[in-house]
Symmetry: C2
Subunit: 145 residues, 2 copies
DNA sequence: CAGTATCCCACGCGATACTG
DNA sequence: CAGTATCGCGTGGGATACTG
């Protein structure tokens, strides 16, 4: 069975595009990473994933559950206890994610350096443009243009 | 040199978070994939990456250039000719991306099936709630809540 | 504890048109 | 050909407060 070219991310209408959009949001990857080693309760997840508000956490978890990547188990006790764990499908995402995570952690510095160099160049160019004026040439600090 | 735990994506202020935000946008991954096998000109890139308008293409390419992942070569001819290629740093991103891409392409269907099942469940639950009424219970078609 | 409920806004992105 | 320039909107997501 050659399923190599069945899907193509570069194609506009390819379903695999949707996957990228899904895991490309701000919290999905982080939650999966957090759940990679242990089953976690809601508040534990909150504590582990820095910056996540209950709202985004719930949204993302619901979406992950819907897509079969995470399972949610409710214990009928009081106070409530809810546990989240990766499904097998979710765990299968761990490898690719680990690769990305590792890349991110090992190459941040190179990226940051490249960025600084680029900004320095741009800044120098701006100054050259405005002759010897002191026009403060903004170094384009934002991520995207 | 043990640099294992120097960075942690789960930490709010970790720089590696930024990397995820960068490659998590709508076009970055696609452009890198497109450039994985060949050097491409602007319009070729546009043709390959389905749906990309010149604006987003330029934005993303500039950002990639700034971060040292893509290099831009301008040929002083008319009509203009500009070639984009991955830098070595950019090429190093190819492996993790390929892993994600492969996962996306091989597991879309499972995700889609899980989603349909979840929606069917939710829909059934809604109908049960409204007794035998014909209240159209919307199956929550959107990606996120 | 595990969420909901609102309000609100930045901004990523698309559409469209124009230029060196 | 390889971009810029504008305009506008959809919505992801932050802040805050409330609830079973």
């Amino acid at each position: 069975m050659d399923t190599e070219r069945e899907y193509d991310v570069l194609s506009v209408d390819c379903p695999s595009r949707m996957i990228l959009n899904r895991i490309g949001d701000r919290w999905t990857l982080l939650i999966i990473v957090a759940l990679s080693r242990e089953v976690l309760r809601f508040s534990q997840l909150r504590a582990r994933v820095g910056g996540a508000t209950p709202k985004v956490l719930t949204q993302t978890l619901r979406a992950l559950e819907r897509d079969g990547l995470v399972s949610r188990e409710v214990f009928p006790v009081v106070p409530p206890r809810v546990e989240y764990r990766l499904t097998e499908l979710g765990r299968s995402l761990l490898e690719p994610i680990a690769a990305v995570k590792k890349w991110a952690e090992t190459h941040v510095e190179e990226v940051l350096e490249a960025r600084e160099r680029a900004d320095a160049m741009a800044s120098a160019a701006s100054e050259a443009m405005s002759s010897a004026s002191s026009s403060m040439a903004r170094p384009r600090a934002g991520v995207l243009g």
